[in-house]
């Protein structure tokens, strides 16, 4: 799931200042689960904006051009009549609504990461969408994401008692987690593999994926 959080109030107000008439779009998928852009949060935003909100809609998948087009069809006049569209979704949703409507789009949220949900309201960054998954070799723990330096060949000197120096020793050292997991799974030899440098051109070239 794409994890988002609401922009700080002050920043949001500053961003909205130039616009009188706003249409608010929410997200029925990830932002609903994050409680940042579902029915409830959209209603709150509309209430907060008062007369400035000329309409709103929660689109099931605002990041899907077909669904955004279909579900916003009935609001076309309002969307087009607005000075800007305030989108309460991840960056993909904001851009998709912009591509569909050609309107000025404003992000109500900051997009954080591809996350694991521990419980409602508690999410963890677990995937950087790097385009070269190696979870088979690392005991299902991603060092690209969970190591602060994204190291591929073991821990750096900044781990103390399995915790990472980045973030004041609150986060686990990914490479200690990987070491423990591989040992538990009877595959310790995988820890000793040398993983050669990544081909970063692959990531550049996967900006579009077509099949």
């Amino acid at each position: 799931m794409i994890i988002t959080k609401a922009k700080p109030e002050e920043e949001l107000n500053e961003m909205l200042k130039p616009y009188e008439k706003l249409f608010v779009v929410g997200c029925g998928t990830c932002s609903t689960s994050c409680m940042t852009g579902g029915e409830e949060q959209v209603a709150e935003m509309v209430k907060k904006l008062g007369d400035r909100a000329i309409g709103s809609a929660v689109v099931e998948d605002p990041c899907d051009l077909r669904i955004a087009r279909k579900e916003l069809k009935e609001f076309k006049a309002k969307v087009q009549g607005a000075d800007a569209v305030l989108v309460m979704s991840c960056g993909a949703g904001v851009q998709t609504v912009g591509d569909y409507s050609k309107k000025i789009v404003l992000p109500a949220l900051d997009t954080l990461f591809i996350g694991q949900t521990e419980r409602l309201g508690k999410f963890h960054d677990v995937c950087k969408a790097c385009g070269e998954c190696i979870l088979d070799e690392t005991g299902g723990v991603c060092p690209v994401t969970r190591c602060a330096k994204g190291l591929l060949n073991g821990p750096c000197g900044g781990q103390v008692k399995g915790k990472c120096e980045v973030g004041k020793y609150e986060n686990d050292c990914a490479w200690v987690l990987i070491y423990d997991r591989l040992k538990e799974q009877g595959r310790p030899e995988l820890f000793e593999l040398f993983r050669p440098p990544r081909d970063n051109s692959k990531k550049v070239l996967t900006q579009h994926h077509v099949f």
Partner: protein
């Protein structure tokens, strides 16, 4: 994947440091830290002061992610002006693979004979916390790139280098790591990829030092144990609180605190020296006598006066 490692026993000893290590001498190296300065006067004074005692000196590269003077220029200057061999420290925090190749080629031209290939403290710990950390490579991949350049004359993409890169490669180790095994295995991997020597993080704990040395013995790569003589109580306290996994022994910290109370500056300095000698002389002796360490890496930055009394017995 490189599963079996490489056979690098044929890499020549390009540097005096590696020549001495391979000859079986007990080797001493020092450390110089260029800061946020535009002059190298202090570095040259320090280099001159430590030269009689050490075979080479590391020149740090933006330690603790503080933006300081680039380490290549002072590395070159101490070799040229002082005749002291440099261990040019390079982090992959601030360079992608292109920048590394550029800097290594430049270092080659300038006659640098040792590179310490390290990942570098994360930018969020430094003095420009909003900076983007690069980490295009990790330190093992950095060692691999150096192997390609030195032993095969190519970069990572296989592009040919015109001319010879004659440099020996050092790596850093943290014997304080807890758990230790992931650190040991990581060191093992790097020795197989192409490390010529290991320099450790600052050590105060003789047992941890011995355990680590025992664990890495099988990799057959010379180890220089890091020690950091404490110039003042402030430095001791900073180390205790800020360096990952490093704890200054409470009795040493207490002795330093006691020395700090001396109001006369000269007498206070003498007391600090005394405390350091009481701790580090037996520490170094013990390492030399009872372990297979190849030497000591002395990080006495701006505390060169300790070299003489500390090392006269070695």
């Amino acid at each position: 994947m490189l599963k079996g490692g490489l056979n690098l026993t044929n890499r020549p000893a390009y540097s005096q440091l590696v020549k001495d290590l391979r000859s079986g001498k007990f080797v001493l190296t020092g450390e110089l830290e260029p800061e946020k300065v535009t002059s190298l006067d202090e570095i040259i004074i320090s280099a001159k002061a430590m030269k009689p005692y050490v075979v080479a000196a590391n020149v740090t590269d933006n330690p603790l992610a503080f933006a300081y003077m680039n380490s290549l220029v002072p590395s070159w200057v101490i070799q040229k002006e002082v005749g002291l061999e440099a261990v040019y420290q390079m982090t992959i925090r601030d360079r992608n693979r292109l920048a590394i190749v550029s800097d290594v080629l430049a270092a080659s031209y300038l006659g640098i004979k040792n590179i310490l290939a390290i990942s570098g403290d994360h930018t969020v710990l430094g003095d420009n916390r909003g900076a983007l950390s690069v980490y295009d490579l990790d330190s093992a991949q950095f060692v691999y790139l150096l192997h390609k350049m030195i032993d095969e004359g190519v970069d990572l993409a296989g592009n040919e280098i015109h001319g010879k890169v004659g440099i020996n490669v050092g790596i850093a180790a943290n014997p304080n790591a807890d758990p230790l095994m992931p650190e040991v295995l990581k060191i093992g991997r790097k020795t197989k990829i192409g490390a010529d020597f290991i320099q450790t993080q600052t050590m105060f704990d003789i047992d941890k030092t011995k355990t680590f040395l025992k664990e890495v013995e099988k990799y057959n790569c010379p180890v220089l144990v890091g020690v950091f003589p404490l110039k003042s109580f402030g430095i001791a306290d900073f180390f205790d609180k800020n360096i990952p996994g490093v704890k200054v022994p409470p009795e040493l910290l207490a002795s330093m605190a006691k020395a700090k109370e001396e109001p006369d500056k000269e007498r206070r300095s003498a007391l600090y020296d005394e405390v350091n000698l009481e701790f580090f002389v037996p520490f170094i002796k013990e390492i030399r006598k009872t372990t297979k360490a190849s030497g000591i890496h002395i990080m006495a930055v701006l505390y060169e006066r300790i070299f003489g009394p500390l090392l006269e017995n070695f």
